[in-house]
Amino acid sequence: MPVLLLERLPLPSLEAYAVVSVSLLGWSLHYAAEKTRDPEWRMQFVETKNISQEIPNTFQAYISDILSRYWLSSRAQDIVSFSIHDSLCIWIVVNMAYCFLVLFGNWLQKQVFGELRVSELQHIKDKFWNFVFYKFIFIFGIKNVQSMEGVILWGSWFSVIGFLHIHAQLCQDRFEYLSMTPCIPRHRHFRLLTLLGSILVSSGLLFLICLAVGQRAGWVTFFLVAPECLLLALRTTHVIARYILYLQSCHPPIHQLSQGWSPSTYYVELAVEISCLIVDLAHHIHMLLRANMLLSMASLVIFMQLRVLYEQLCSRLRRHGNYKRLLQMVELCCPLVTQHFELESEWEDNKCAICWEAAALARRLPCGHHFHHGCLLHWLEQDPTCPTCRRQLLEDGSKETPPTSQSRPRENASFISWTGWSRIFQQNADTPAVAAAENSQLESLAEQVLQMFPDYSFPVIIEDLRQTRSVDLTVENILEGRLLPTLPSFQQEPSLSTLPKIVSQEQNPFEVSQEPDKLFVDDPQERQQILQCRKHELVEEARNRFFQRQALANISPNPDS
């Protein structure tokens, strides 16, 4: 792998590179100054100047023209023209330009991104080498540039484009990373957005340059260079649009009817993606046609790329078709309903089970479950079933699969009893009426169990029934010894339960307030600390219980062992 090889090369540090570049430039200026003092050179130069004035369209002539017209004394003019004409000096100048670009990039990175993450670094490295590879193919395979000035011109053009592309990619990666973090200081968003904005403006400027070049050098060149700017602008716009939407979604207005999605967002996304692909595709087709020899290595590479792009475009269009079909189906069989709830009264039904946010306006599936329109569509794109009960939706409800949901709660209940702790499901006991009805039902069930196992206490049975919701399961639990006749021992035996408390107080470095409201605070650092504390407590408690068990085992050794 060439990339791997390059990573192992002992590349100089940035400072060393900058120092070397500057000293090289100094040397070349000195060299040029020495040379231009030579009268022989002047004579030669005047001759070539006369020739080049006859053919005014060359690059050097153009630059000399600009220089003489604007800002330089004749001495400096000489030096610059020498540097341009001398093949060694021009490479030193180009190197200096790259050095500036790298330094600028480094400064930008420090200002906007800070330390790059490993994945970001890897991503831009891949992107960079990919870009270099394709542009190499373009310059030498398709344009077949042979003169030095051509190489320099194309090289500097693609360097600028590549520089912007890489920073756009970096912005995108960083935006995706930032969107995973809940509390980001505003200035970081601001800096990133500023950079994105300047990339967009730069791509606009480059497009204008393309237009100017197109007017001078023909529209063929324009169509070869302009798509790059267009793609850059499109991708940057895409990231900016996503960014703005993200920022909006982070601070949703309180009284907005949250749908979790809006059709315009989807269509903007679709339009940008499709137009990016189409521009890229057209660009590649154009390159293929412009290739000097149709049967060459370069054409093969372009052709492969073309195939990938075509497949991407097809799959995107297929996805869109699929999406349209789903949308139609959802609109047909899942009516949009408005729900009126007293806030926080019924926590499960009040919220969309996918995003856990309030759903004032929701789609009702044929099976009676409610979801946000957007959340539902996103899920159905993956799997056309109801997320809650798994009923198939695609066949318009005609293919009735037996609801498998009923096994789910019981499944939960049975494994919770395995965990050995009593955990009460409170969702169902929220409203007093339901709770009362349930309690009387539970009591009658518990009495049935009590008749079979009189040595078990009433609250223990009630507790277990609350989880199992079935006499049979509770009886099974009792028979298999999962249920103890009294409440769990470590809560009842004072001699043992006092021990962990003392130990945990001694070893616990932080004081955690046990009030549930205070456990989840707004400050991320404090929250983090509380979490660490809770982890620590859990481990300590487990250790203590382990020692207790060992002590118990030692007191009453098992006759089997």
Partner: protein, 167 residues
């Protein structure tokens, strides 16, 4: 989507903090990245993993809850449904599309109504009742079936190790 994923994870974190199920502590490793969590699971009572505290890492995709997170134990584990590198293989963590072992019905798979809490409770029940049909760790599955005493011995060692108690 990342915005809504973040809000949902925050809601789950809040719920797990305010109403923690017994034997489970879970939360982001670092508040800077809400998509990597660490959780501690206490081995269920009455099983060979009783009392151990097992740390695991949960990695959420950016389109969570549409796609399931990945779970990997970061301590030593020996269990029929846990790969030797700690990755957990249970049906609730598999997206409806993929079926690596070809035996699960889609009803058991991931769905966005599942949550971290449900995953962790499922993992606890998995610790209690290994499913030896889907062997992620063939050695463990074989030992579970054929040599339960040896399996229990290894499990006890793992429990002690997880609690940092020397044998």
């Amino acid at each position: 989507m990342a915005g809504s994923a973040l809000r949902r994870l925050m809601a789950e974190y809040k719920q797990l903090t305010l109403n923690p199920p017994e034997g489970i502590v879970a939360g982001p490793i670092n508040e800077e990245n809400f998509f990597d969590w660490e959780c501690l699971i206490v081995g269920p009572d009455g099983t060979c993993f009783e009392g151990g505290v097992f740390p695991a890492k949960l990695t959420f995709p950016t389109d969570y809850p549409l796609s399931p997170p990945k779970m990997q134990f970061t301590c030593e584990m020996f269990h029929p449904n846990i790969y030797s590198d700690g990755r957990v293989c249970i049906s609730i963590l598999h997206a409806p599309g993929d079926d690596p072992l070809g035996y699960e019905s889609s009803a058991e798979r991931w769905s966005p109504v599942q949550s971290v809490e449900k995953i962790l409770l499922s993992v606890i029940s998995m610790l209690a009742e290994p499913n030896d049909e889907s062997g992620a760790n063939i050695d463990a599955a074989k030992m579970w079936r054929e040599n339960r005493a040896e399996f229990d011995r290894i499990a006890t060692r793992i429990v002690r190790k997880s609690l940092n108690i020397p044998l």
